[in-house]
Symmetry: C2
Subunit: 381 residues, 2 copies
């Protein structure tokens, strides 16, 4: 934490179409945008040391409020000096609100205007989550970017249900904003993002944006996407939803996504992303390459002496062969999960660096076209 | 592989009582003795990158012939350029003969004078292991120290069975030596160790040593110990068995052991050790400290902000608290296994460095007495 750094500053350096090249400056460091945030669910980016996460090029990571409140507990993390010191990551951390996990992972949930009562998926213990409690937990963790608490309903819900959930989310946004600003010390160190809801409906999205803008959040997330609606429907929303949010504030697409999702979303004006895909798929043997994903367990890699991706400069591709990674993953070795995760995170960060360079050079359309042709072609082969 | 380095050279720098300070020089590097060799069963020291294994202070690692012959297969490793390149470790590797694992891990074993026929524990496929096949596999892997193939019988066997197994092991030692020397290129790059057998019987140990010495191995292992006989019985054998082996050759105690086992064995003239204990116990939450082992899962560590071992200089102790490691291990996080393993290997290597320094200074007895008092006291508390 550097006292003379800004609490929050978003500088836009260049645009290319709707895509934006920027820097988000926070107390704990700068975030080059468009940015990808590796997910560190339980106070660890799984199978990675923090310094190795940083070495892949990550400027910020994400922590999960729901997981951390249950284990080791937000008050405990606070007593131990906060999430940064606890896990050994001194750069910015964005924490989600816990809303998504409460409503998707926990059991026996009961929703009310007050919030959500639920049973822990770990031990069945009962907890109450509300805008106020979510903000308190994120403050106890020492989050640098605090997310508002919102309500999630299935994309297959009726418009009436979507409307009601969005309206409740906007009432919860008011309470989230008030709760954040009342935590004085933390509010002077951290930023807070509101979350636009409204599913696939432009009118709902518009009302949601309008409600959020009155609250003056530091940044805005496009929420409720990447939950099974498919890329075309998601891009359909991204064709208009980011334009409803202020141009001088960062826009964060939560839970996205596949590399081609990210490229398309950057073209549509999104600045920040998070997703478990590079880490989770690394643990199951999927590697990302510039010619599409490969499953390293496949027998054709058993004696392949090449690197995971010939164009990758990461330590894994410099140090070990596909044959070795095939062996490790097949044998269930921890080192397999470690190396596959490291490569995948490096791949994602290299993609973000390429996107930033293309926006800077005004060549994003050409970059995206070439990327899709190579990445998509191999997937079908 | 450096052409101008010796194939094998063992220099004794100093003795303190029966303990020896030395350097074992091989084509791929020097090994400071007494030395501890981390176990890299399946072409990986579990949960560790090779460079991090090296950073703990390891000069040499061990590879398992049995595991590697079954997966990925010795011929495949050879086609991929050998074990060193495959796993990214360019310093010496000692390979065991596979005998211990064939007789303890595999199924449906049939022993004969020719060797051991067995079914793989992975897929039930049938294989034949013999002195000749073991030497061939170790050559295909590119081992720097090749172990003779011997027969293992339970320590509870009758003296007659022990005698017969020892005598067969000595006949197999003859065949192992001949097979090794007939692999001309490899024999000019690598060293070979014979293995003394004879269980807890001085007369059998003496006959075994006599038989081995005729074959002129580069070094000698004390085999058949650390298989359940207990520390007192093991030290009983070590009180005389190393003296039966030539003073100008390294002595290797296979599969040992706990830190206090190693201290006692060094006092009795052993130069080399290997054991899965620091790596395996790291994955289950046991950490070694100068005041004895601790189980980091214990609730008393939940908010302990101190390092695993306050006297340890390893990156884990410098970077993370017991509370964080407690959280990771309880949550089943891969990073928990990684960091616990790294600390434990660093602890073992620091112990070896301390032992070498004490021998060099002629203060081994004082060091060992202090070590035992501190290490043992906490274990009982």
């Amino acid at each position: 934490m550097t006292p003379d750094r800004p609490r929050f500053e978003f500088r836009l350096h260049k645009t290319d179409g709707k895509a934006r090249l920027g820097t988000l400056a926070l107390k704990r460091g700068d975030i080059r945008t468009p940015a990808f945030m590796p997910v560190g669910t339980a106070a660890t980016v799984k199978a990675m040391k923090p310094q190795d996460v940083r070495a892949t090029g990550a400027d910020i990571i994400l922590g999960n409020t729901y997981h951390l409140m249950l284990r080791p507990g937000a008050e405990r993390v606070a007593r131990l000096g906060g999430l940064h010191g606890f896990m050994g990551w001194d750069r910015p951390i964005l924490t989600d609100s816990g809303g998504y996990q409460v409503m998707s992972l926990s059991e026996l949930t009961k929703r009310s205007e007050e919030g959500v009562s639920f049973a822990s998926h770990l031990d069945g213990s009962r907890h109450m989550m509300s805008p106020e409690r979510s903000m308190e937990i994120q403050r106890l963790l020492g989050s640098d970017i605090v997310m508002a608490f919102d309500e999630l309903v299935p994309t297959t819900s009726t418009r009436e249900v979507q409307d009601a959930a969005m309206e409740r989310s906007m009432r919860w946004a008011v309470r989230s904003r008030e709760a954040f600003l009342s935590g004085h010390d933390h509010a002077q160190q951290a930023a807070q993002f509101g979350i636009q809801q409204g599913a696939l409906d432009p009118e709902l999205r518009g009302r949601s944006a309008e409600a959020l803008l009155k609250l003056g959040f530091d940044g805005y997330a496009v929420g409720g996407l990447a939950v099974g609606e498919g890329q075309a429907a998601m891009f359909g929303v991204l064709d208009y939803a980011p334009d409803m949010l202020p141009a001088d504030r960062p826009r964060y697409l939560m839970g996205v996504g596949k590399p081609d999702d990210i490229v398309g979303a950057v073209e549509r004006g999104i600045d920040m992303f998070d997703c478990v895909l590079p880490t989770r798929s690394g643990r199951t043997g999927q590697a990302f390459t510039r010619e599409g994903p490969i499953n390293i367990r496949n027998a054709r890699f058993a004696e392949d002496q090449g690197p995971l991706d010939p164009e990758c400069a990461c330590p894994v591709c410099k140090g070990w062969s596909r044959a070795y990674l095939h062996h490790l993953v097949r044998a269930g070795e921890i080192l397999g999960a470690m190396l596959m995760t490291e490569h995948n995170l490096a791949f994602y960060q290299a993609l973000m660096a390429d996107l930033r360079a293309a926006i800077g050079a005004g060549t994003l359309t050409a970059f995206a076209t070439t990327f899709r042709a190579r990445y998509g072609a191999a997937r079908g082969s």
